[in-house]
Amino acid sequence: MTNRYEGSWEYKLASATMPPMDVHDRVMESVARLQRKEDRSTFLSIRRRAWMVPLLATCILIGSGFAYLSGVWLKNDAGDTVLKIRDYNSANLPSPVSDSEWESYISLAQPGETVLVYKAEDNPQKIIGSYTVPSVVQDYEDLKSIVGENFALPASVPEPFTFVEGHGIGFLHPSPELLDDIYAEGEASGQTVTRVITAQQAETAGVTLNLELAEESYVASILGGEHADTWYTDLAQHTDTAVVSILGTEGYIAKVDGSQELFWKHGHGAGSLYYHLSTTDLGEQGKQALISLLEALAAGAVAGQ
């Protein structure tokens, strides 16, 4: 029995036999090569730059995403993970330069200048720290004009907070030759090497606001979130931890080293924003104030999506 379709060009094509083809092994080999390459470039990236956020003493690193360790996964209301809080591990260690050391190195530079620090000792990841000394402003309008619209700052200072001061967070891209030079000098001498760069303009990577409420200090930093998908920290130092939903996305609150801190991120990939807020108020009032401050700061980003 034949059907009316048989013999037609459609039938010929639909019943055409294909040669045996298989790309599975080739693909998986390529993926493995790609992974090794990414691991190398992540290592280089870590070695060559660390984002030092003033007063927060945090180091945001690009997460490899392939090693599962203990931590907190924060999701948006669509169920997508937007931010991971994870314990330090052998691939992601704390910054080798302490806060007090940074203070002394920063004193070497003027606002607008960038300090690069390579500590040869106790630095297995060969991290070169970078910190651009900010120009601090006391007027909120000045701050908005400095950082532009990239961080969706609200039109006015969130109430009932008082604006104390603020600054843009600069990030310089030093030349690979300079970084290699610093690295080579540090390795040869075994000492800490510092460089102050004056000529180059740093990219504005974020903004920091210092605020006050009821004589308690509040610091809010907003950074471009494209590469900030994982925050590595010492989770053993965190107490009273909680995951809270803010503007449809989970945030993480914890008491860390004498302050109460809130971590939150809007979106992922290009255009996303990473928020890190802290206060000296360790009570419930401080916690609620952090949440309301974040809601005010992120409202513009959420509305603009």
Binding site: K12, M18, P19, M21, D22, V27, A67, G269
Partner: protein, 200 residues
Amino acid sequence: MEHLLEQWVEQAKGGSKEAFSDLVKATQQKLLTYAYPMLGNVQDAEDVVQEVYIRMYRHLDKYTHHVSVMAWLYTICYRLCMNKLKKRSGLMRLLPLLHQEAAMNERAAANRTEPEHDLSLLDGLKAEERNLVVMRIIQGLTYEEISGITGISVAALRKRYERVRQKLQMKCRMERTEQAHERPHHIELKRGVATYDQSI
């Protein structure tokens, strides 16, 4: 199936190579049987499909659930195939020849046989026409699905398909007529292939 694919994508996003491997195994034949008739030879088809998965892997974090996993893969594959065809557009007139030559080279190299097929019908079609026929007839996709992949409206696809259908019907009729008149030539050609097969 789509649910399973999405599950594998989510697991791959989290770093599971096993999930990515399962996803490749489950979807590669659909892509290969799209790329092969599009490009006309095994090597190009495999190269393109490999590139599809590498691009997918690189951009896993950008995958949203607005489109199905299969539509996403088809879209990447479609663009890569079209780019490849455009690059060799100057050679399009020689495609039937290249087709046979490539098949013979592959046999000699890999000592494997290519099955006889009727894909030569597609020779001479423009890249977009070829794509439409392959997606409709070989892949069995709906106009809506093809529209989602190519960005061409459903109405335009329907009109275009009707024109190609007439073109291919005409081609089939002409081939049947030629076969009736040139039977001895075809026998000789088949003998040539048989001799070649024995020598490898």
